[in-house]
Subunit: 210 residues, 2 copies
Amino acid sequence: MKKNIRPEIPRKAIYRLSLYLRCLLRLKNNSIRTVSSEALAKAAGVKSTQLRKDLTYFGQFGTRGLGYDVDQLAHMISDLLGTNSLQPVVLIGVGNLGLALLSYKGFAAEGFEIVGAFDIDPKRRRDKTIATPLYDMSQLESVIQARMVKMAILTVPAAAAQEVANRLVAVGITGILNFSPIVLTVPEDVIVNSVNLAIELENLSYFVQH
Amino acid sequence: MKKNIRPEIPRKAIYRLSLYLRCLLRLKNNSIRTVSSEALAKAAGVKSTQLRKDLTYFGQFGTRGLGYDVDQLAHMISDLLGTNSLQPVVLIGVGNLGLALLSYKGFAAEGFEIVGAFDIDPKRRRDKTIATPLYDMSQLESVIQARMVKMAILTVPAAAAQEVANRLVAVGITGILNFSPIVLTVPEDVIVNSVNLAIELENLSYFVQH
């Protein structure tokens, strides 16, 4: 396999680039066309030395004394993150959380399209209408292959999560946003980002009381 | 101010305790009454040395060779996290994500009750019915004080987040689950846990493509 020439960017730096991008888009909405590294760093809550270091991944960039071109920098980050074009995502597990996420319009706004949702019982009555096509789990592999999906949102119960993750990995998914409260075992070239809303609240709960 | 005698537990350890609790509750549901530290560690995806270290916060515990009593350990962790009794939480910002979270039943299942949701325009038409009482922002302070709320879920747009956070802190909120894509500035005794779903997907997006 040929190595990419661009140095690999650490995961934390990618998170910060996402933050910079959001700040830049806000500036753009306010018709601000250039921004200093100090101002952008402050908006993102990082040190300006950190910001400048993160932006060196794009090579030499920005004009001393003039700051960064907001539009150009936003575009470069967006390109790197791969969110300039709409990316297909599947969601597996249409329970309460899955339903909530399907009704969240923020993903589309950020360049992600949930092309299909999967459930062991797609005909189950739900108190909400879903615009996303709803499939039976048996169709998981065929839909992922047909739509060339690389990313999946996993909202199945803990007991089913590893088994579903195995199927996802086997059919070529390389990024999983995991909402199940278990630690998934996946091959090294698959990235799992875990989010557990109840655990975040529990964590706060401890600190609020102690 | 009197110092708590119990040593302060690091935030990462609190996250792991939450994970252990979930594993224990699954075992309990399957009528399993004792568990070895190795089995529990494996289920939680940590090393058993880590698990044993985390459980020393509870003092000497467990019987060598017999493992942990599932029910007792679950209860002790739950006590520590403060989730044995229902805890009141407020949610601020009833946009798409706020609505999605209000319809998520997982919080209640974990011991959190959203006692009120706040919006600058509570009369705005929404395509969904909300069971949670919906208030105008002007009632924020009075509801929080009346219900003795300590935790808030923040789902307002980025531009409003810091201002709302200031009001929350001023009225006594000490834990904020922040979904706004900005870094909040709060006093040292206030804990902010940030979750940004779109950023998590963007982060995956980068790694999926590189």
